[in-house]
Symmetry: C2
Subunit: 215 residues, 2 copies
């Protein structure tokens, strides 16, 4: 499949590369964290932040004066969304690796200025993390809206790399006498921990966990 | 505590900021993945890669022609190491957050040119991921050494942000009738999966998992 642009053309590890928009979205949806890189005062900065997707747009939020909001607007950014799935234990040192799912996106984000669209996106964000929660919450007030920025970039100039396999050793090493295989990382939602300050003698409905298997 | 430089001075969320070198190293050691941001052809790029620490230096490796190796040498980079620990479910929409541990480093990495130091560092890398494994492996050969680059940057210009608490709601919202607390992400090493191609009728010692609780 063709890369959407020259800079998204994967050179290293081409057999692990993909550009399928559905796969791009799936990997975006399965993760809760992204890393946004931008140029600030001539030097590179990378900021971890939570993201969400709506159609073909990637969103994140924060303070109106956070650098990856106000200072990335209209600027070229690069975003990576990655999950490390297993350690890959080969027979040779050289062929050790990890299994992973990774999306790299290039683009120019734009702040959401329309107030009702901003509110709608913040609702989508909360709802993707815990369906049903938004309408239970103390709603956003005007002061909070003024402090909050929401930004979006197109999910278009994107590349995927995935490794999901046992070790790939050199032919002559397959008899080497060492255990070979993968060591998986298991992720799951642990037991909910209620706020100790929540002392009311009431049982509230428990929150759901994120959709799409995101963790 | 004083930030080591102006650009590492945390402005947003100062009470979560720290600059203690021991805490910086602890967070670096507890994670297997970092994100390296650099400027390439005038635009920002961010590359996920596995890292390791030796003393006050942060290391990563890859192909001699990988961008975050050859093209970051002598250039300004920014590296972030993050772990998302819990979803923080507040009573208000505005105060939703996540618990996390995060280190951001600035610096100029340099390639390791000395062959024996390069080998030593690759051994440290494998040993931090699986103690005792290095000496069991088919050793690196000359061709592999030529293809591999190892790079290092000082762990000096670093900032930490940590959030590890229940939700912080506004005083007037503490009676709001919704479940509040945290939803933890649990990470653990799953059952080892042996390479299906390893059909020898021998039982090899099983590999250890990473040191320092890294996952
Ligand atoms: C897992 C995770 C999820 C997050 N999700 C969100 C989110 O959804 N929305 C949001 O607004 N923020 C989120 N953050 C916080 C985010 O990384 C930034 O701290 C925040 O966006 C402010 O960025 P800034 O560059 O404006 O901060 P500033 O305080 O202006 O940055 C100045 C300096 O502070 C230091 N610094 C800033 N952020 C970090 C950090 N994370 N770790 C270590 N040092 C740092 C750096 O040295 C930086 O150069 C998340 C952080 C983590 C670890
Ligand atoms: C969890 C994890 C751990 C990794 N650990 C290591 C490691 O220890 N050592 C190592 O060498 N590599 C590691 N990688 C792979 C690494 O991210 C790069 O793919 C590799 O370093 C080559 O980078 P490059 O910029 O030279 O690639 P190039 O192929 O030259 O990059 C060209 C284009 O390919 C695309 N691309 C490159 N990398 C990725 C990616 N990861 N995801 C999506 N698109 C991508 C981008 O669009 C990029 O602009 C890891 C990846 C993941 C997800
Ligand atoms: C447990 C230890 C190791 C881990 C977890 C690891 C992980 C990785 C990963 C994830 C990649 C990227 C593969 C991709 O692009 O899909 C990579 C690339 C590479 N690694 Fe390692 N590695 C390890 C040890 C080593 C050692 C010991 C060497 C050298 C002796 C080495 C040499 C290389 C080289 C040359 C590449 C680039 C491959 C290419 O782009 O053609 N690795 N490594
Ligand atoms: C479940 C949903 C949410 C999550 C997971 C989340 C997560 C976060 C995180 C991790 C931060 C960074 C805090 C830090 O620097 O330590 C942050 C900052 C911020 N969030 Fe959210 N948030 C959510 C919902 C919202 C909503 C709905 C709003 C607005 C109505 C909002 C407004 C803000 C603002 C203004 C900041 C900046 C705080 C500051 O720097 O002073 N967030 N959020």
């Amino acid at each position: 499949m063709q890369a959407p642009s020259q800079r998204t053309q994967v050179k290293r590890g081409r057999k692990r590369a993909d550009y399928d928009p559905q796969l791009v979205k799936q990997i975006i949806d399965q993760s809760l964290l992204c890393h946004v890189a931008q140029i600030h005062d001539g030097y590179p900065v990378v900021t971890p932040t939570c993201h969400w997707r709506d159609g073909d747009m990637l969103y994140w939020h924060g303070h109106t004066r956070a650098r990856n909001l106000y200072a990335s607007q209209g600027q070229s950014v690069c975003v990576n969304i990655s999950q490390l799935d297993d350690l890959v234990m080969a027979r040779s040192a050289f062929h050790h690796s990890v299994n992973y799912r990774s999306v790299t996106l290039f683009g120019v984000p734009q702040l959401i200025e329309d107030e009702s669209e901003k509110r709608r996106q913040l609702e989508l964000f909360v709802e993707r993390l815990s369906p049903g929660r938004w309408q239970q919450l103390r709603p956003i007030n005007e002061q909070e809206m003024l402090l909050t920025a929401v930004i979006a970039m197109p999910i278009h100039e994107a590349s995927v790399k995935v490794r999901a396999a046992p070790p790939s050793d050199d032919d002559e090493d397959y008899g080497w006498p060492v255990w070979a295989g993968v060591m998986p990382i298991q992720r799951q939602w642990g037991d909910l921990q209620q706020d100790p300050k929540q002392t009311e003698d009431k049982r509230y409905p428990l929150p759901s966990s994120p959709v799409n298997g995101a963790i």
